[in-house]
């Protein structure tokens, strides 16, 4: 399989993730869609790393994984805090920053 296939797949997954963020209202599902997008990026990185011929892309993908993990941790912490304070878990309800 040529590298193109992987890249096109990666962009499809990225688009699906972006659509998901725009469509869903629950914060958990939004975080899941964020994971989708990050993983799509990882796939692209690894595919390019294979194309170039060295592993530097894979190191990049590893670091992206670390960052994704951290971000998930914080995001879930936020959600738990929201839940603790009995706030609605719906991003449309949480809009005190409206103009």
């Amino acid at each position: 399989m040529s590298i193109e296939w992987y890249i096109v797949l990666s962009s499809l997954l990225f688009a699906i993730g972006a659509t998901g963020i725009l469509l869903r209202r629950s914060p958990i599902v939004i975080l899941l869609c964020l994971e989708l997008m990050l993983n799509a990026g990882n796939l692209a990185l690894i595919a390019f790393s294979r194309m170039v011929g060295n592993e530097e892309g894979q190191i990049f993908a590893l670091v992206v994984m670390v960052v994704a993990a951290c971000e998930v941790v914080i995001g879930l912490g936020l959600i738990v805090a929201l839940f603790r304070r009995r706030l609605p878990l719906d991003v449309d309800e949480l809009r005190e920053l409206r103009g």
């Binding site: 997954l13 629950s26 989708l36 595919a47 894979q58 994984m65 960052v67 993990a69 805090a81």
Partner: protein
């Protein structure tokens, strides 16, 4: 053989992704994402990234997803309503998603980067091995390595702070902090 595996894994990822965005119950969404991650690991293997495939399964599907499962179990995860308060959001979301995919696809397929059309150069047997990754991490990418460990520490501390139980003397106990 490779094509079969590729298409199988690709279907798995796509199915998982669509499941994440389509399933109402967040628990089911988490499960769909796990499927997606496993399929991705297979794709990584196909790209000679063995260590990363393992890391994906162990760290991502293993640890991060378990975290998700815990939180969803704690919260309870009811489905959200089908009514859309923002007018035009659904249509525009689908439209823009499609637009992004089409544009990226055109960019890739019509690209003048000829190497994309190949399967990549021939690599030696240890490509993507833990040894190779480890060598790079400790030699060339030492600083990013250390920086990411600090990042992890920050995240851990942050999570504890965020989710910790506040004492009742804070102002406005029911408001956002």
């Amino acid at each position: 053989m490779e094509e079969v595996l590729f298409f199988g894994a690709a279907l798995g990822t796509l199915g998982g992704a669509v499941g994440v965005i389509a399933l109402r119950n967040p628990f089911y969404g988490v499960l769909a994402l796990i499927v997606h991650l496993f399929s991705l690991a297979v794709l990584f293997l196909l790209l000679s990234a063995a260590f990363l495939a393992a890391a994906q399964v162990v760290v991502y599907a293993g640890a991060v997803m378990v975290l998700y499962v815990f939180v969803v179990a704690y919260i309870g995860g009811t489905g959200e309503s089908a009514w859309e308060p923002i007018p035009g959001q659904r249509f525009l979301a689908l439209l823009l998603g499609a637009a992004i995919f089409i544009e990226l696809a055109i960019a890739v397929l019509a690209s003048s980067l000829l190497a994309l059309g190949t399967g990549g150069p021939d690599v030696e047997a240890g490509f993507g091995d833990p040894a190779a990754i480890g060598t790079l991490l400790l030699e060339k990418f030492l600083i990013p390595f250390e920086a990411s460990s600090i990042l992890l520490l920050l995240a851990a501390v942050g999570a504890v702070v965020l989710a910790g139980r506040r004492s009742e003397t804070t102002v406005g106990g029911g408001d956002l902090p």
